[in-house]
Symmetry: C2
DNA sequence: CGCGAGGTTGATTTGTGTCAATGCACGTGG
DNA sequence: CCACGTGCATTGACACAAATCAACCTCGCG
């Protein structure tokens, strides 16, 4: 649970009682098996879903049988903007690994958001999520397979680091090459080959699920990933000055 | 200005005084020439920007010299989620046609959002915008040039209709083929050729800027555009029941 | 020991990109 | 009033990244 709290604190400095509020948001917990759908297309989403543990993704199945992963949800990620109406899904949410989720009612989170620091944090989180989507659009539209892969790796590394789930220069990449392909709009074969190139050029290495980054600077440069944009440090400083 | 109001009313039924609130949100107006940047990468965005007239877009210039348009802003569209902190842009906002914008302070819009119907409307608008982004991701990742084009046409048609800027089966497409290419992650040449195919198969026709849709059903089917998902009618019904 | 999921490889095809030229409409200045 | 320039659409030839198809390999597990 504290993954969520940990992430929110990049957006705003929360006092003890506000932290407690956040921790108590979910009113119901659920475990989902790997590959199971949390929510399917057509379902009505009444509560917000908070990923507590494991990797999940939002995806859409197309008419032509292909699949596109819209976004990856890591521990601490909310399924939707926090102020949302219930609505009908036109895509699905599925577990990549076994996943534990917490359900949060709209009322509960809006109550919490009446505290301005909590509200700031939630809005920051929302903006962060939207930023990721925008970068995803840019990558799919204008980057090569290798660049997209490098970008994804940089991004996952940063996000996992934020929630304390990376070890310096390595993290557990819990996705198959087919899933990565569905995320990046590529075929499995192409993912495989691009990954090989990154390995051969000594930018990364892989053992089991563990992906190690040997040259983060180069990986960022190659993919146009700008870590500084998310200024994970600046924001805290700025908040401190308030 | 009433484009914004008109759109918001798809999200919530606003009373007269709430409508007035919305109309009075902008505290400052500006005109931007076609192709001029409203906000450039690196700028700090203090106020929200509301497009009052004309077409604009959010785009990012890449290291390799290409450009990707992230989203298109039509009259009545807000530049960012309404509850956002000031923040530094990592992309730019530019006018496609001459554009008139209104600047809205965060404080003003948050005040307005203390009225629950206004808040509902703004959250609905935010969700609508995010939906468009998600569909954009799906299209870029998994659809062919022709499908992407058809999808864009369907989507623009729907959005323009919502704000009273389409005539039944036609609308003014205020984008060059190069701009469409930057939106859909395609080259100008490919846009040109795909457009020709759509014309040859009698799905659309073009005269000057006016694009006419001859077979909306087929265009939707071809591109996987699901108009019903946005249930522009359902939502009003649902609100009516509250 | 055999099976299945996931990773790897090679051969081939194909959708798009790139480059470069041409056409066309429109506006401007001599 | 015409020559010219400019921005945009169109076309053809060619190159290339990535998709597809089809094996084959490997490793963990029942």
């Amino acid at each position: 649970m504290n993954r969520f709290l940990r992430k929110l604190q990049y957006g705003s400095e929360l006092m003890a009682e506000e932290q407690k509020l956040i921790l108590e948001l979910p009113h119901h917990y659920r475990n989902i098996d790997a590959r199971g759908d949390v929510l399917s297309e057509g379902d009505e989403q009444k509560n917000l879903i908070l990923v507590l543990d494991g990797w999940a993704c939002r995806y859409k199945l197309l008419e032509n049988g292909t699949r596109q992963i819209i976004s990856i949800l890591l521990p601490g990620d909310l399924s939707e903007p926090f102020g949302l109406h219930p609505h009908c899904m036109d895509h699905s949410l599925c577990a990549i690994t076994p996943v534990m989720i917490g359900e949060i009612s709209r009322a509960a989170i809006m109550d919490a958001a009446s505290f301005s620091r909590v509200s700031d944090a939630l809005w920051w989180d929302l903006f962060f999520t939207i930023s990721l989507d925008r970068h995803h659009i840019v990558g799919l539209g204008r980057r090569s397979a290798k660049e997209r892969l490098a970008h994804l790796i940089c991004q996952l590394h940063m996000r996992l680091e934020m929630i304390g789930m990376s070890e310096d220069d390595s993290f557990l990449l819990m996705m198959t090459q087919a899933q990565i392909g569905d995320m990046l709009g590529l075929s499995t074969v192409q993912v495989n080959r691009s990954l090989q190139v990154l390995r051969e050029t000594q930018l990364i290495s892989q053992h089991q699920n563990r992906l190690t980054i040997h040259d983060l600077t180069e990986l960022c440069a190659l993919s146009g990933f700008d870590r500084s944009y998310f200024h994970l440090d600046d924001i805290k400083d700025q908040t401190a000055n308030d």
